[in-house]
């Protein structure tokens, strides 16, 4: 009997793991955005001394893990697992980063839901007694994503108003079986939900039902209410997806409007930075959580946060074959207080 389960999709962690340190590195555009003061490092150009954007993304992930370790004042050999993923084909940014980190590695793919996915699995591994220290990391890069999913950068096309801007950046969290606040208290794992959207330039709408579903399920499973949270933040739904999510949650009888935001909206000033609907990518929720939200938790400006990273599970092949875009979202409840 799985005694740590709560309701249909939630796990209540008996010994909630601590997030003892985080780190975030972002690209130049993100470094000009409203959250610039919260990031550990801002790189000056999108190659960062590497020969290709893919190598740059891998370096972002490698360096962000190293930075998180140094923030936690531990070394690689003390870490039991590295859980990481990214958007590139065969998750090369993560595995190539791991090849230079001497940490046992599990590669994850959850599209842009990877940050919450890695935190979910990491905290369950720790609570299960399988590890003491775990590094959770993910990254994305505007230029690697554009060339994989869309057009060459110098192609003179127009981006639709629903399109989002892939965040160049990487974030990492170090989870530990011992340590202080903040703690991961609950994990609600989302189902893949496909609302039938086929437009790859409207991923917010494709992911919104998955996000709404996992948030509502989290409330049902745990008995918590929106007012119990200081912040509920989705990964990269951006302006259109956020509005839809809020309305879908309201239909189920929960009003989250006072506490709800989206990392894709927070990271850019859409009007000034010309990012249309907002930010996206694995790096979006990773840098907003590990940069901004974590620091707010440490300074007690926020005490309970629900991080809901959202992923659009399409591939260039599936899009060309006319498949719709399934969405996924995972919720991780992070709190300064454990009851």
């Amino acid at each position: 009997m799985a005694h740590k389960r709560l309701g249909k999709q939630t796990v209540k962690l008996q010994n909630p793991p601590s997030i003892i340190a985080t780190s975030s590195i972002v690209g130049p555009k993100e470094g000009e955005g409203p959250l610039k003061n919260f990031f550990d490092q801002i790189i000056q150009d999108d190659l960062w001394g590497e020969e290709s954007w893919e190598k740059c993304e891998s370096k972002l992930q490698r360096e962000v893990v190293k930075l998180a370790l140094s923030n936690a004042k531990i070394v690689e050999s003390q870490v039991d697992f590295l859980l990481a993923g990214d958007l590139l084909n065969q998750i090369i940014a993560s595995s190539f980063a791991a090849r230079q980190l001497a940490i046992p590695f599990f590669g994850l793919y959850g599209a842009c839901s990877t940050m919450a996915e890695s935190l979910s699995l990491g905290s369950m591994l720790i609570d299960g007694g399988f590890a003491d220290k775990i590094a959770c990391a993910t990254s994305s890069h505007f230029s690697t994503a554009e060339r994989q999913y869309r057009y060459p950068l110098e192609h003179g096309n127009q981006r639709p108003l629903t399109s989002q801007w892939t965040v160049t950046g990487a974030g990492a969290s170090i989870l530990s079986s011992s340590g202080g606040a903040p703690y991961i208290t609950h994990v609600t794992t989302g189902k893949v939900i496909d609302p039938g959207i086929k437009d790859a330039n409207n991923m917010g709408a494709a992911m919104a039902p998955a996000a709404a579903d996992v948030i509502v399920q989290h409330f049902k499973d745990t008995g918590l209410k929106p007012s119990d949270y200081d912040l509920i933040i989705t990964g990269d739904l951006a302006s259109i997806g956020k509005e839809i999510t809020e309305e879908l949650i309201a239909k189920e009888g929960y009003n989250v409007s006072n506490v709800y935001s989206d990392c894709g909206i927070e990271i850019f000033d859409n009007k000034k930075q010309d990012t249309h609907a907002g930010g996206s990518g694995c790096g979006c929720s990773a840098v907003v959580f590990n940069g901004y939200v974590y620091k707010q938790l440490l300074s007690k400006k926020l005490n309970r946060v629900l991080l809901v990273s959202t992923g659009a599970l399409l591939s260039p092949t599936s899009a060309m074959q006319g498949e719709s875009i399934p969405g996924i979202a995972h919720a991780v409840s992070i709190s300064n207080i454990i009851s």
Partner: protein, 147 residues
């Protein structure tokens, strides 16, 4: 949560999508597209003035336009023009040049054979295939009907 009806959801999402500024976009496309074509005429007049006949001038003009578009693509300017002008800078021959040069630049890191050469026509390829294909088809039709 209840299962989502995909049709209802699509209608609901359509209402949320911001509408593009069609009039403004059309004006931009008209002005930039017109400007590129006028510039082409300027080149034609210029080369005729310097001694080319009409047939040679109609070869020289696209060559110069394609060169300038490739140059502007390489300098990272053409995509900025395209962002405003849309079809105004995609439809003229300069847009065609941009659609070939931009993937060629982008895939240089994958090598000159499997990168540049193989990827060069990813955007323009369909236009070439169906453009040339339909001209062959029309040519055959013309030949048959003429007899």
């Amino acid at each position: 949560m209840k299962k989502i009806n995909q049709k209802d959801y699509a209608n609901y999402v359509n209402e949320k999508i911001p509408k593009p500024k069609i009039v403004k976009n059309c004006i931009w496309a008209f002005l930039v597209g017109g400007l590129i074509c006028t510039f082409g005429q300027v080149i034609t007049n210029f080369v005729i003035k310097y001694g080319l006949d009409k047939k040679a001038a109609s070869t020289a003009t696209p060559v110069i336009l394609i060169f300038l578009s490739a140059l502007l693509t390489g300098l990272g300017v053409y995509d900025k023009i395209g962002k405003r002008a849309g079809a105004g800078s995609i439809v003229p021959i300069t847009g065609f040049a941009n659609s070939i040069v931009s993937p060629a630049m982008e895939f240089k890191r994958e090598g000159f054979v499997l990168g540049v050469a193989a990827k060069m026509f990813t955007v323009a390829g369909p236009v070439l295939v169906y453009g040339i294909g339909s001209s062959v088809f029309v040519g055959i039709l013309y030949l048959l009907l003429k007899k």
